[in-house]
Symmetry: C2
Subunit: 129 residues, 2 copies
Amino acid sequence: MTTHADPRIAVERYWTAADHRDWATFATTLADEVVYDLPQTRERIRGKERYLTFNREYPGDWRVRVERVVADPDGRQAAVRTLFTTGDQELPAVHFFTFDAQGLISAITDFWPEPYEPPAGREHLVERY
Amino acid sequence: MTTHADPRIAVERYWTAADHRDWATFATTLADEVVYDLPQTRERIRGKERYLTFNREYPGDWRVRVERVVADPDGRQAAVRTLFTTGDQELPAVHFFTFDAQGLISAITDFWPEPYEPPAGREHLVERY
């Protein structure tokens, strides 16, 4: 049984469901033993029920859209760039997904890279955008 | 001609060469018109020569090792997690690569996600690692 064997389809479904707060559909993408990691805070959430609660309780009137999907069916994994918006604030994020043999998400690692000032000394090589 | 048609092989070669400061080998992975983006500072570097100079001039006695490769041959792209170390300081990074028809790297986007303190209110769901 491979309900979401294509990582690209699975992550699109995951993000569309998150954007719609459709936690029933969101849940269908997750393995029961899913592990969610935030390396920047060294936080970890174990299990589908806890991870669903984390998402349901997450504050803010955010929207999310997918900007880029790197799909690796052989490796049963995907990497995704998203853009979260809350009002006029934009926050890019990067996510790594691992899938089990049934095509369900068994591991998620999220990164939230914040803006910073560029160091001096490379102005002769770069432009700003 | 597809000298580096497998994204996984190309990115391994790129990172091994960077770790060894072997800029001649590093250069063989890059398209002449490569574009390097740093979304957090909104810096952009255009062209192989400038990008090589940027890397040659980059300060510090850093080492880098690849932690995870997501390879998408159909999409001619890859996503990579690395760990940079300078002395006892560790800095994780995330990189997105796009390849041209010859298997050369035509675009690179780097993210440097820094540690931050977790917000209050989710201690009932998370563990720290």
